[in-house]
C-alpha cells in the first residue's frame, strides 16, 4: 500500500498566537525533507518531552533507536519510554540546552556535542522558550517534528491534526 502523504508546511503560524519571536522564524518543512536532513546529520539527537510518551509516539521513537540516533528523554517521559522498550537517557531540557551550547560537552556517549536537535512531543511553550536559547546562542540545527509550529526552530512542521501528525512521523521515520 502506498504511503499516505500529508503537507506538513500548512498552518505554519505559532501555536501560541502571541509567540512571535522576531524576523527569523522556522522554515516550514515537509516530512520527507525533515527525515532526509535528520538522516544526513553527523551528530543528531532526538529530544522527547513528557507528552511524547503518548500512545503511538514511542513506536516512532524506536525507529530513531534502530538508526542509532540517541534519544534524550526530558521531563518525565522516561518511565513510559522504557516500558515501550525505547532506549533513552533522562536529561532535564533546560540543562540540556545549556549543555548543547557548551563546546566542552561531549554528549551522552562521550563522542562530542550534537549538531542537530530534533524535538518531538513537548509541552509547547516550554520547548519553544528553550529552543530560543539554541536559536540565539548556538549553531545547533533545530528541527521540530512536533504537532505544532515552533517559530524558534530552524525548521518546523506547521500545526497539524493528530492524524496528519502521525502520518508525518511515519514519513520521517521512513527516511531515516
Amino acid at each position: 500500500m502506498a504511503q499516505k502523504t500529508v503537507d506538513t508546511t500548512k498552518r505554519a503560524v505559532p501555536f501560541d498566537k502571541a509567540n512571535v519571536p522576531g524576523p527569523k522564524m522556522a522554515k516550514p518543512v515537509k516530512a520527507e525533507l525533515a527525515g532526509k536532513i535528520i538522516s544526513k546529520a553527523k551528530r543528531p539527537l532526538l529530544i522527547v518531552g513528557t507528552p511524547g510518551a503518548d500512545t503511538g509516539l514511542p513506536e516512532i521513537i524506536k525507529t530513531f533507536n534502530s538508526k542509532s540516533i540517541p534519544v534524550a528523554a526530558t521531563g518525565s517521559c522516561l518511565k513510559a519510554l522504557k516500558q515501550a522498550d525505547v532506549e533513552a537517557t533522562y536529561v532535564n531540557l533546560h540543562a540540556l540546552v545549556s549543555y548543547l551550547k557548551d563546546p566542552k560537552w561531549k554528549g551522552f556517549d562521550g563522542n562530542g556535542n550534537y549538531d542537530t536537535a530534533i524535538f518531538i512531543g513537548h509541552t509547547y511553550y516550554y520547548a519553544s522558550q528553550l529552543m530560543s536559547t539554541l536559536k540565539n546562542f548556538t549553531t545547533v540545527k533545530v528541527i521540530s517534528i512536533d504537532r505544532h509550529y515552533h517559530p524558534n526552530a530552524q525548521m518546523s512542521f506547521g500545526n497539524l491534526n493528530d492524524d496528519d501528525f502521525r502520518t508525518a512521523l511515519k514519513i520521517v521515520a521512513a527516511q531515516l
Partner: protein, 800 residues
Amino acid sequence: MVLKKGRFIIEDLENVQINIGNITGAEVEEEEKEKEKKEAHGPTISPGIHGLRDWDRRLLGRYEPVYSPICDLCCYCTYGKCDLTGNKEGACGINMEAHQAREAMVRTITGASAHAGHGRHLLHYLIERFGADHPIDVGPSNIKAPNTQTVLGIRPETIGDFIPVLNYVEEQITQLIATAHAGQEGSALDFDSKALHAGMLDHVGMEVSDIIQISCLGFPKSDENAPLAEIGMGLIDSKKPVLLVIGHNVAAVTYIIDYVEENELIDKIEVVGLCCTAIDMTRYNISAKIVGSMAKQLKYIRSGIPDVIVVDEQCIRGDVLKEASKLHIPVIATNDKIMYNLPDRSNDDINSIMDDLVSGSQPGVLLFDFDKIGELAPELTLKMAPIRKEKGYTALPDDEEFKRLTSSCSRCGACVIACPQGLDIDVAMSDAAGGDLTLFEILHDKCVGCGRCEEECPKGIPVLDVIEKAAQKVIREEKGKVRIGRGQIGDPEIREEGRNLVLGTTPGIVAIVGCPNYPDGSRDIYDIAEEMLKRSFIVVTSGCSAMDIGMFRNEDGKTLYERFGGRFLKGNLLNVGSCVSNAHITATTIKVASIFAGRNIDGNYEEIADYVLCRIGAVGLAWGAFSQKALSIGTGCNRMGIPVILGPHGPKYRRAYIGNPYDPEKWNILDARDGSSHLMEPAPEHLLISAETKDEALPMLAKLCFRPGDNSLGRMIKLTHYIELNEKYLGELPDDWHVYVRSEADLPLAKKEMLLKILEQEHGWEIDWKKKKIIKGPFRRPDVSFQPTNVPRLCKGASV
C-alpha cells in the same frame, strides 16, 4: 541621661518641640559605638552595586547564566527596533545576551520595588499609628531581622529603626534601575550581578514589611500552632452580603475588620479575600475567609457573589473595575499603586460617597482615608447586597444559555491557541454540548483564570463563564483549611533543628512558594508537598502556594495543615505567611549559620551565603511563578546560595543559572582549614532551573539538597530520597547517583550491596567485598573536619 541627636517633645507642652543637632559628647559616644560595631562587622555593610560582585562572579562562574529570549528584538530606545537574533549587537552596541540579562534584571528590580514600596507604605502608616519607637516583636528571637542584619549590619529594635534600612534599599534600587538605561552596562554577567543585588534587596524589603506588620498588627509571632483559617469558594455563604478584598497590603483592610467587629457585623457579613491580603487578614483576624489564590480573581468576580470589592496593591487584575462594573459591584481603591482613573473621594462625606456607589453613578472610588474605608466598605456591602441579590447579578449563564453557548462553539481552536496552558477547551465545549461536563470540571482547576480565550473566540463565547458554570458542582466542594502565616522561624526552633539540617539528617528544606500559574493545576503542589513531608523534609510555604496546598484533603477529609505539624522540624509544614513573608525563608538559613555555626552575620553577606551554599540543604520551588516578584524572590534566594526550581513557564523569565556537572573546572572547592583546593561533586548542581512536570521536579528537589558539607549519615539519607524519588517518578536509578558517593557510608542501607555491584561493574570502582568497603573510585573521600568554602579569604592564613 545621655543626650543624642534627635527630636524631643515635652509632655503636656504639645506644641513645643526641641530639635538637638550637635552635642559634642553625644556625637563622640555615637561615633565610638559605630566604630565598635564596624570592627565587629563583616566586610560588606550596606553593600553598593559592586559590593558583592566577587561573590556573584563566584556563583555565576559555576552556575552559568542561560538566556532564553522571549523576543529576538530590542525595542528599548529610538534607535530600534533592533534585531538581535543570533546574539547580534543592536544600534547601541548591546548584544542579545546582555539585553536578555538586562531584561531579567529589570524584572527583578520591579519585583523588589513592589515589595519595598509596599514596605515603605506600611512603615509610614505604622509609624504614624504606633510611633517610631514601637518595639519589634517577632517572637522568641534575638536575631530579629536576619536579612537586615546580614546586609546592613543593623540590628533593629523598633519599627523606626527600619527607616535607614528602607532608605538603603530605595537608594540601591534607584542606582540599579539607572543601569538599565541605554548606554550604561554592556556586560551580561554584570547585569546578572546587579539582578542578584536586586534579589538580595528584595529580601530586605520583604523582611521590613512583614516584621513591622507582625510587630504592630498582632499577627502570630513564630507560632507553630497558628490557627487554621477557612479557604475555598465553597465556604463562602453567598446568601450573606459579601465584601471581597484583593491584593497584598493589609493596612486598609484592618480598619474594615475592626469596624465589622466593633459593630457586631461578623455574623451578618462575609469578609473574604483573594491573594496575599487574604492571608494577612486571617493573620489579623481569624474570622476572615480566604477565597483562594490569584487564579480565582476573575472567576470569583464573574460569579457575581461579591457585593463590594476593595483593592490595594500587587497582583490585581487590570480589569477588576471593568468586570465589577458589569455586575454593579462597587470598587474601592485604597492605594496609589492602583487608581483605575477613579475620583479621589478621600475628603468627601461617607454618605455622599455611598449614595454615588449605590446608585451606580460612580463605579468606584479612590479612598485613602483608612477610617472612612473601614466604615464605608462594610456599610456599603450591607446596602448593596439586597439590591444586587434581588437583581440576581451574575455573569454565569443559566442552564439554557449554557446549552446555547456550548452548542454554538465551532471548535475552531482559537481558545486553545490563546490559552497559556493550551487547555483542550474546544473538546470540553463539545463534550458539554452533549451533556458531559467532566472535562470542564477538570479544566476548572487547570485554568489560571486569565480570560485570554474570550479575547480570541470568534463567536464571542464567554469561555471562562462557561467553564465556571460547568464546574459549579466542583466549586461547591472547594473547602479547605490553611494554617495562617506563622511568621519567622524562632531561634529556639533553629537551635533544635539546625544541627540536623547542616549534618543532613533532616534531608532538607523545600520552600514551595510563588504564584498559581501552574502548568497542570493546583493539585501538583499539594502532591509535591505531601511526598516531601512523608519523606521528612521540612516544607515551608507562603502566599498563593500556601493557599493552594490547603485546598485538598486526603481520604480522611484532612488537609496537609491538619495532618502535619507547623514547627520547624523534619516532616512539618510551615506557612510563613504572605508574599513578603518569603524573607523568613532566607532568614532561616541565616539564623542556622549564626545560631548553629556561630558565624558573625552582621554585614557579612558573602560568608553567610557561602555557608548556606556549602552546608544548608534548602531548595525553593516556584512551580507556578508568574510575577516579577516571584523572580526577585527567587533571585534573592540564589544570591543567598539557595537553588530554585521553576515550573515550565519559568524560562519565560529569560535566564537561568545552570551548572554543568561534566566540567571539572567548575566544581573546585576550598578547604578553609588550609586553603587547599578539592574537586567536589556537583552539589548543588544548579542554582536556577526549570522542570517540565511535577514528576520531574520531585527527584530534582531531593537532588538540589545535596551539599558538599554533608556528613555520611546525611548524605546517605539524601541519596536515599534522590534514588527513591527518581525510581518512583522517572522509572530508574538516576544516572548520576554515583557521583554523590564518597564512601560506602554514603550508600542507602537497603540498596547498599546492589549499588556496590553497580559501582564495580559499571563504573570500574574497586570494592573490598569482605568488608563491603569502597577501595578506589570516588574523587573525594568524606572528611568530617572538611570546611568547604568558595571564598579564598575565609581560608586559614589567607590575607584578608
